[in-house]
């Protein structure tokens, strides 16, 4: 059985359309995100999250009413299977008076719930992040993502032509930005797990790109006469079934994670799913296009300078 046997699509023809489409998605996503306020998870913004298991079913409004005295700025969600009566309560980093303890807000929430008399409950998980740690993680997250991108660029630059390295990195950056745009659209918080998924995407996305570039390098050796466009297009087509199948299988595996992985991993799995689709798309349309655009410029530069010399 074979998919895309002898595929011969003219992907390169569509490169400008593809770049424009990606730009629209990214710009729209970020405009939306910035307009609504970038939703930082408590890992980065600091704050308190409690997961509370009630003995009897309660509504979000009951919980909200119970903790109204602590802060009106809260997020209440059902956590996990609704039959389990679990609620997630998130409150932002409230100003803690001098000498106040980190768990001051969490205790106030528990007090509020006890006083509201909405049945017995148990705090099954509690996350308190102070502002120092949040700022620290923010810095580190940005640093790690950038460093990882630079590291990969250097590696590809060493193993392939420079133009290819730029193409690969443009594709990787593209995937990171598109993924973040989708996170904004779907209202996911940027949390530690999400950043971990984004970093994984940088590695995964470049995987696909390398497979195509490897093939381009091989084909450039055997078909020296053809134009770069033609060789690249042929290489994309030759590896197309592989690209689609691997993306498909990884997608299936992560889909299982999204469906069964529970509340904690949902955002992680969602980020990976978007990243995988974007990674495949960018491999086919973005990486190769940019490599061609830059590669041709280099070639033109070379012919121009050789003409001058003669």
């Amino acid at each position: 059985m074979a998919l895309f046997e002898n595929a011969n699509y003219d992907f390169i023809k569509w490169r400008w359309h593809a770049i424009a489409l990606s730009a629209i998605v990214i710009i729209a996503g970020f405009a939306y995100g910035i307009q609504r306020g970038i939703p930082l998870g408590i890992d980065f913004s600091g704050g308190t999250i409690l997961v509370v298991k009630f003995e009897q079913p309660v509504t979000d409004d009951q919980v909200r009413g119970a903790i109204a005295s602590v802060t009106a700025e809260n997020v209440i969600q059902t956590y996990g299977d609704p039959a389990q009566n679990q609620k997630l309560i998130r409150i932002p980093q409230l100003v803690v008076e001098e000498g106040g303890a980190l768990d001051q807000n969490a205790r106030a929430v528990v007090d509020g719930l006890t006083k509201a008399n909405i049945g017995k409950f148990e705090v099954i998980s509690q996350e308190l992040v102070g502002p120092v740690i949040g700022a620290d993680l923010q810095r580190k997250g940005i640093y790690a993502t950038l460093a990882s991108i630079v590291g990969i660029t250097i590696y590809i630059g060493l193993r392939f032509r420079f133009a290819f390295a730029i193409g690969a990195i443009a594709a990787t950056l593209h995937d990171v930005l598109v993924t973040i745009a989708f996170l904004f659209f779907f209202g996911y918080d940027l949390s530690l797990n999400v950043v971990a998924a984004i970093l994984t995407i940088t590695g995964y996305s470049v995987n696909d790109t390398i497979v195509i570039f490897d093939r381009v390098r091989e084909n450039l050796r055997t078909k020296r006469r053809d134009s770069l466009e033609k060789v690249v297009n042929e290489s994309v087509n030759q590896t197309l079934s592989r690209t689609i199948i691997t993306a498909g299988t990884t997608f299936l595996a992560v889909l299982a994670l999204y469906l069964f992985g529970g509340e904690v991993l949902e955002a992680f799995a969602f980020t990976m799913l978007v990243g995988i689709i974007s990674g495949t798309y960018s491999t086919i349309f973005i990486a190769a296009s940019i490599a061609i655009i830059l590669g041709n410029k280099q070639a033109k530069g070379r012919t121009a300078s050789s003409r001058k010399a003669s």
């Binding site: 705090v123 580190k140 530690l192 970093l199 199948i245 889909l255 992985g261 529970g262």
Partner: protein, 519 residues
């Protein structure tokens, strides 16, 4: 079967055997992270300024004492801030004598001369760094001792990212409040001489001193025992600033009962402490001894006779409090205050839910991939599945061997490893298909497929390893677990996708003449 093929198969079997041996039985050999097992993750900051303050205060006190005994009248010794103090009004004719006293002080402090016989001493910058470093290390060791005494299995106490931060992870702890209290309380025990008191409030104490607390005295809050059966009240004591004995001279502390059968803590002193305490109690029979814990007078018994190496701390303790206090005293005082920067608690039930969800999604992922591979690649798909299974076995084995912790994101790492494993296999199979189309023999097509793809596989894996390395560097706890799983999975994958899968192809092809490959 060719001889060299036999060796390859044997090698693979040995690797699988070793891996299984190192993780079997998994419930004992594979460590679960906090998010799966339940427990608490804490990040604390050591207030290293406290240690600097203490050093400066002690040095200033000692110098003042020396000036007194050396009969050099000065205007005053004033502590300016955590790192500097000033001596005012040194008489010009005593200047040389004053300077002679400074040898000890100037080891750590830089002297600058002001006008009118005033000298300011500032802590040298390298000593500041040193002191901060020592303080954090001391705090780390103290916390380690306390955590060990708590009896938590596999705790982690380590330096965290910033210089003054300490990470504490206590798996399986349910009483988080108690654990936090034990870790954080300073537990500084001091035995001080009570000069006056107790007074019912601070103003009364000040009035008794004529309004001013002398520099060698201190006003401390404390408990006033009202006699058996009566509730104790809070009041103030005037005590000497310099303690007779401190917690550093403790040999042991254990919970006990006082004469009224209430929980109390008894302590014993080491040789040095016993000598100091013996002399002190002998010289002060009939006066009150202040037992001061974290700057609060716990009790102030009257010294009846010379006591050498035993003492008892009484107060309104519950059994648990007496136990915890002796634990804290045994493990020593913290050199500085601690504040909590981050706290994450996972209840055991939530952890168990996560394990279930993780296993379920891994199984689901494997199943979906299996169905697809068998459907699309037929027999070769079976080949891929075996190499992925071996990959996962190796991953578990290596993780158990390295003592790595399995976290929920780590399970995601397993699932991604499945994805990556399929990726490499698909890359190889598609290449073999292409080679078959150019009408070579089956054996040659397989060999060419593997050879051509090796470099690509190496390139893709190196790129993924680079991002995994930064991920490891970035994250703590669960994220590290994920990065580590991913790294080991990638390394194992190079072996299984290339070597194991190829050996299986060769094995099939060596048995019989194959005209058409089921791929």
């Amino acid at each position: 079967m060719a001889k060299n093929l036999r060796w390859k198969v044997l090698f693979i079997l040995v690797v699988v055997g070793l891996a299984v041996w190192s993780f079997y039985p998994p419930d004992q050999k594979v460590r679960l992270g906090l998010d799966l097992k339940g427990g608490v993750h804490l990040v604390l900051r050591v207030q290293t300024d406290d240690a600097l303050k203490l050093e400066t205060q002690t040095t200033a006190d000692r110098l003042a004492e020396q000036l007194k005994t050396g009969k050099i009248p000065v205007g005053g010794v004033i502590v300016n801030n955590a790192t500097s103090f000033t001596v005012n009004g040194v008489p010009p004719d005593q200047d040389a004598a004053f300077r002679n006293l400074l040898t000890e002080v100037e080891v750590n402090y830089e002297r600058s001369t002001g006008s009118g016989g005033s000298y300011t001493f500032s802590l040298r910058p390298n000593i500041v760094v040193q002191l901060r470093e020592d303080t954090v290390n001391q705090a780390l060791q103290t916390i380690e001792r306390r955590v060990n005494e708590l009896g938590v299995a596999e705790p982690i106490v380590a330096r965290h990212s910033a210089a003054d931060q300490i990470l504490v992870q206590l798996p399986g702890v349910t009483d988080v409040g108690r654990a936090k209290e034990i870790i954080r309380s300073t537990a500084q025990l001091e035995l001080k001489q009570v000069e006056q008191g107790p007074f019912s409030d601070e103003n009364a104490a000040r009035a008794a001193l004529g309004g001013n607390v002398p520099p060698d005295m201190q006003l401390l809050p404390g408990t006033i025992e009202a006699g058996p059966g009566q509730p104790a009240s809070t009041g103030y004591y005037v005590v000497r600033r310099v303690p007779a004995v401190t917690g550093r001279d403790l040999r042991n502390a254990r919970p006990t009962l006082d004469e009224n059968n209430r929980p109390a803590v008894s302590f014993s002193l080491n040789q040095e402490g016993a000598r100091k305490f013996g002399n002190f109690t002998q010289a002060n029979i009939g006066r009150q001894l202040g037992i001061v814990l974290d700057n609060r007078v716990q009790s102030a018994p009257v010294i009846q006779s010379r006591i050498d190496d035993e003492g008892r701390i009484t107060g309104n303790f519950t059994n648990q409090e007496a136990q915890d206090l002796s634990l804290k005293l045994r493990s020593g005082a913290l050199p500085a205050n601690l504040t909590y920067l981050e706290e994450r608690t996972v209840g055991p039930s939530l952890g168990a839910d996560s394990v279930r969800a993780g296993v379920m999604s891994a199984a689901g992922g494997l199943l979906m991939v299996t169905l697809f591979m068998l459907f699309y690649y037929r027999l070769a798909g079976f080949n891929a599945l075996i190499s992925i299974a071996i990959n996962l076995i190796m991953l578990l084995g290596l993780m158990a061997y390295a003592g790595a912790t399995m976290t929920l994101p780590g399970i995601a790492g397993f699932i991604l490893t499945i994805g990556m494993g399929v990726d490499s296999n698909v890359l190889i199979f598609e290449r073999i298909k292409e080679e078959l189309r150019t009408a070579k023999g089956v054996k040659q097509a397989v060999a060419a497929g593997f050879d051509r793809v090796l470099l690509t596989i190496l390139d893709t894996h190196v790129a993924s390893l680079i991002s995994a390395a930064f991920l490891f560097n970035f994250g703590t706890g669960p994220i590290r677990g994920f990065a580590l799983t991913l790294t080991i999975g990638l390394l194992a994958n190079v072996f299984t996708a290339y070597f194991v899968s190829r050996t299986m192809f060769e094995l099939t092809l060596s048995r019989r003449q194959v005209a058409k490959l089921s791929i």
